[in-house]
Amino acid sequence: MTLETAPPRVLYAHPASLTDRASHYCPGCGHGIVHRLIAELIDELDLGERAIGVASVGCSVFIYDYLDIDFVEAPHGRAPAVATGVRRLRPDAFVFTYQGDGDLAAIGTAEIVHAAARGERIAIVFVNNGVYGMTGGQMAPTSLLGQRTTSTPAGRDPTLAGYPIPITEMLALVPGVSYAARGSVADPATIGRTKGYLRRAFEAQLRGEGLSIVEILSTCPVGWGMTAPEAMEHLARVVVETYPTGVIVDRRQPHPPQEA
C-alpha cells in the first residue's frame, strides 16, 4: 500500500520479537494479547539474546512459534522445574515460564510452590482463563463457583468440586517470592497496567531477586461459550470479583533512581 512521501511517525508497531505468523488461537483469545505484552518487554528490555522461555502444555504451548527466542517445552505442569534446571545452568540468561491455570494451579502445584520456596530467579507468566482451554473447556481449579464447564455441566459446586484456588496469594506467603501481582487483559487500560506488573517482574529477575509471578486474568471465549467482546466484559465485571487485581506482594530491594 502507498503512504505519504514523508513516512508518518509510528505510534504502534508490531514488536520485533513477535513473529508475524497467524496464531492458532481462537478468535479473541487472550493469549495473543499476553504474547504481545511479553514481546514488547523483550524488545524494550533488550532481552532477545539472553531470554530462554519455558513453554507449558496448554493452548499456549505454541508460544515458541510466536516469540522469536530460545524455548524449551516442559511437560504439563513442570515448567517451573524445567526453568529451575535452565536457570541453574545459565546464570546470565533471562528465564521465564508461560503457564495456564490448569498447568500451574492444578497438575503443576508442587513445582510452582517449590520453585517459589527455593526463590528461584525466574519469572512466571501465569495466564488464568478459568478453564482448561486446550482440552475442551473443562473446569480448572480457578473456575468460578457456579461456572458451567464441560466437566461441571451443572456449574461448579463447591461441595463436589471445591473452591477457586487463590494460588498467587498462597505463593506470596513464601519468602522466596520477590514480586507477585495480578493483572488482566479486560481493556486497554488494564492491559497497560498489566504490562507494568510484567516489567517489574522481569526486572526483579534481572536484578537477581527471587521468583516473580504475574497472574494475568484472561479469556477463553470458546470455553466460556461467549463472543470475544462478551468474554472481555465478563472478565471485567465478574471474574475480578473472585480474583482482585493489583500487586499482591513486593519484596524487591529498594533501587537506584533510574529504576523508579
Partner: protein, 191 residues
C-alpha cells in the same frame, strides 16, 4: 457395497454435524455406518474434517484411503482430499471460498456456492448442510426423509426454527445439486 464420504473445511463450518446427520440417516435405514472426526486443537481455528462410511456389511477400517465422495469447503480441503477419490468419485466444491479448480478429470465435480446458499438459508454455518444436500443430489446414499429425521433427532424437539433453517439449507443444496454445478471438469473453461 461400502461408500466412504469425506467432509472437509474450516472448523465452525458444521462439518462434523453434517457428517453425523448423514451417519444417523444411514443407521436409521439399517446400514452399517462409522463416523470419524479430525479431533483436538487442530479443529480450533484450523481445518476440520470427518469421514463417514456407509456400507451393507460390517465396516473394516473407519479411515478411508479411497473415498466415494468428498465435500470440500475450503482450498486446503480441496488440495488434501481430491486425490483420495476413487475414479468416478464425486467431489462437491464450495465455490464461494474456492476459486482453484479440481485437477483430476476422472472424477465427477459438483460446484456449489455453499456459503452463499447457507447465508440465504440464514446462517453461514449451514454451509455443510447445503453441501450435504448437493452430495445427496448426486449420490442418493440415504433418503431425504431419513436426513430430515436425523436432523430433527439431533437438534432435539425444542428447536423448530433451527430445524427449518437446516432443512432449507439441505433442500437448497439438493436443488442446486440436481440442476447446477459443473457436470465434469471437461465442461469447465480451462484457465
Amino acid at each position: 457395497m461400502e461408500q466412504g464420504v469425506i467432509l472437509a473445511g474450516f472448523g465452525g463450518q458444521g462439518l462434523l454435524f453434517a457428517g453425523h446427520v448423514l451417519a444417523r440417516a444411514a443407521l436409521a435405514e439399517g446400514r452399517a455406518v462409522s463416523w470419524m472426526p479430525s479431533y483436538g486443537p487442530e479443529m480450533r481455528g484450523g481445518t476440520a474434517s470427518c469421514t463417514v462410511i456407509v456400507a451393507d456389511r460390517p465396516i473394516g477400517s473407519p479411515i478411508v484411503d479411497r473415498a466415494a465422495a468428498a465435500v470440500v469447503l475450503t482450498p486446503p480441503a480441496l488440495a488434501r482430499f481430491e486425490p483420495m477419490l476413487v475414479p468416478g468419485g464425486l467431489l462437491v466444491v464450495n465455490e464461494t471460498l474456492i476459486e482453484a479448480l479440481p485437477t483430476r478429470t476422472d472424477i465427477e465435480v459438483l460446484g456449489l456456492p455453499c456459503t452463499a446458499l447457507a447465508r440465504e438459508a440464514g446462517d453461514d454455518r449451514l454451509v455443510s448442510v447445503v453441501a450435504l444436500g448437493g452430495l445427496l443430489a448426486r449420490r442418493p446414499i440415504v433418503e431425504r426423509a431419513s436426513v430430515r429425521d436425523a436432523l430433527a433427532e439431533l437438534l432435539g424437539p425444542s428447536r423448530f426454527e433451527v430445524l427449518a433453517a437446516d432443512l432449507a439449507a439441505l433442500d437448497a443444496g439438493i436443488e442446486r445439486g440436481l440442476v447446477g454445478g459443473l457436470a465434469s471438469p471437461a465442461a469447465v473453461p480451462a484457465k
